[in-house]
Amino acid sequence: MIKSSLRFVFLTFLIYISFKPLNSAEMVDPIKVNWSFKGLTGTFDRASLQRGFQVYKEVCASCHSMQYLSYRNLGEPGGPEFSEQEVKAIAASFEIEDGPDSQGEMFTRPGRPSDKFKSPYPNVQAATAANGGAYPPDMSVLVKARKGGANYIYSVLVGYEDPPPGLDLDDGVYYNKYMVGNKIKMPNNLMDGLVEYADGTESTVDQMAKDVTTFLAWAAEPELEERHKTGVKVIIYLVLLTILVYLSMKKIWSRVDTEV
């Protein structure tokens, strides 16, 4: 009797686990993209990262900050890997406020690779005020800060639709199929041919969304490639050591009449 009641409890448990998706209502599952950085040995597509940076710089950066990244990161291994000259040129294209100087005055100078990415607004309040009361989130760790990660970010970028009939949206509010709650204050900024890719890739909305999402995934986890590479080595090392220790254990315990 106890066994059957046990089975009953366990089954109910399973049933309710399987009901989980039904309960998380308004969310539409994000589109699953086969990212190159997925999986145990995943790496970033270098060209896509560079294109993604271009989309970020020309489109996203006018509203979104990326305050935890430095220009030097763009040249580091595992990232877009721009050359040293390119990184210097990118940094120098921004005017960075520095100071105070010996006179106590703040001044601006061309950016250096060691500078953090320049934010479009001086503070959160200014960013909020300039964007209709919705703060454009800092994008440094955005991919890690959203359930669904890269798939979700990509889905939102390509998820703009006309609102279903009967749904009135306020000015400055847009309908997005994948956004939590379906309402988003960021307009659909991507349109075909918006940026001119240096490598000649056709800049479709889908291409730009994928590239910029790849770039954001790297920005959130710049260590990803090194982590994967080190991880494989660590696991191999541990497995070999485990085998050696297992054999030693068997040998040592062979002196005793007990199995291990």
Binding site: I17, Y68, L238, W253
Partner: protein, 419 residues
């Protein structure tokens, strides 16, 4: 195994050992007679020691780079992740290490529940272990606050607010805990201080835990008292050390899998959003290892009632050695208790699951059923089953399958097979 007659061979060793018998202690730890039939569930003591040391070492390094200030904490964590050499590795080991620590401790606790390791004469080991577990929860909770993300902030708000349920002085106590009128910079500062302190308290208790263990010696899967040293025991080194090392390595492979390949899967994505007192997350959930207690807390409509019940769920474990009336330790020989044991395991897993779900509808019902059963298990099942149950015959020793009941002569071997 001749620990009492131990004398160092070298003159210097003898000179030192006469003044501080560290070498005698070392010899005792090496020779410590251990039941030879310990199974792999017994390797989690060593694994837990490894977890504690790992947390302390990685934590000390993290503290060198972390800034405990409401305006800087989040950025300092990103600094660790991006600019500190192998900072990402150290932080991911530390954050996943907390989960691995709890995984190991839950296995350790349930092992004790199954084999009756909490029963006489090991009550003090059990109680010290529970104190360690309590401190672990405190340390983990405060550690989760330190990155100052959304879950950090709102988790801290929910948990500290529990104290406001105390009649009359609740609000004053909560304000005192916060050091402010809400969770704020002073709260973060003191949490960091305590988060650094608690692991060393745990370390001290671990020494007591092992000391208390070495008085009666290990329990074992058969659960009987054995003569030590005897044919039933092996010296701790090299037998148990090598076995613990093997189990630890397997554990480390799983650990490394999390750290290197899915370092954020056990965390909540909201904690990568900087703390914002003006925006409440849709669902505030604690880390997975606290979810069963969170479910118990929310299963009661009354705040004070929920808090009392949640704390009771832990404190009832302290009197477990006296709630269990069975004369037999190991569930291997307790056919009825064994079933209830597994029901309890499922019950706790279910509570953990509903703890992660919104407290409404079916989840609330399940949480209530689970909570009631949890307490029934300890208050009713343990005393009654221990009293009524007809236990299976028990072998006289681990090596020699001599029986009290006179059933099949191979019971002891069968026991070993089962385990």
């Amino acid at each position: 195994m001749s620990e009492h007659e131990y004398t160092p061979k070298s003159k210097a060793g003898k000179w030192f050992n006469d003044r501080l018998p560290l070498l005698t202690l070392g010899a005792h730890l090496t020779d410590y007679p251990t039941p030879k039939n310990l199974n792999y569930w017994w390797t989690f003591g060593g694994i837990l020691t490894f977890c504690l040391i790992t947390q302390i070492v990685t934590g000390i390094v993290l503290a060198m780079h972390y800034v405990a200030h409401a305006d800087l904490a989040f950025a300092s964590v990103e600094h660790i992740m991006r600019d500190v050499n192998y900072g990402w590795l150290i932080r991911y080991i530390h954050s996943n290490g907390a989960s691995m620590f709890f995984l190991a401790v839950y296995i350790h606790i349930f092992r004790s529940l199954f084999y009756g390791s909490y029963k006489s004469p090991r009550e003090v080991i059990w109680i010290i272990g529970l104190l360690i577990y309590l401190l672990m929860m405190a340390a983990a909770f405060m550690g989760y606050v330190l990155p100052w993300g959304q879950m950090s902030f709102w988790g801290a708000t929910v948990i500290t607010n529990l104290f406001s349920a105390i009649p009359l002085v609740g609000d004053s106590i909560t304000t005192w805990l916060w050091g402010a009128y809400s969770v704020d910079n002073p709260t973060l500062n003191r949490f960091f201080s305590l988060h650094y302190l608690i692991p060393f308290l745990i370390l001290g208790l671990v020494v007591l835990h092992i000391w208390a263990l070495h008085v009666p010696g290990n329990n074992n899967p058969v659960g009987i008292d054995i003569k030590k040293p005897s044919k039933d025991t092996v010296p701790f080194h090299p037998y148990i050390t090598i076995k613990d090392a093997f189990a630890l390595l397997v554990f480390m492979i799983i650990f490394a899998g999390f750290v290197f390949f899915t370092p954020n899967v056990l965390g909540h994505s909201d904690n990568y959003i900087p703390a914002n007192p003006l925006v409440t997350p849709a669902h505030i959930v604690p880390e997975w290892y606290l979810l069963p207690f969170y479910a118990i807390l929310r299963s009661v409509p009354d705040k004070l009632g929920g808090v009392i019940l949640m704390f009771s769920a832990i404190f009832i474990l302290f009197v477990l050695p006296w709630l269990d009336t069975s004369k037999v330790r190991s569930a291997v020989f307790r056919p009825i208790y064994r079933q209830f044991f597994w029901i309890l395991v499922i019950d706790v897993l279910m509570l953990g699951y509903v703890g992660a779900m919104p407290a409404e509808g079916i989840y609330l019902v399940l949480a209530r059923v689970g909570t009631i059963y949890y307490f029934l298990h300890f208050i009713v099942v343990m005393p009654v089953v221990g009293y009524l149950e007809k236990t299976d015959p028990i072998p006289m020793s681990i090596s020699e399958p001599v029986l009290t009941g006179g059933a099949e002569p191979s019971v002891a071997r069968k026991v070993n097979d089962k385990i």
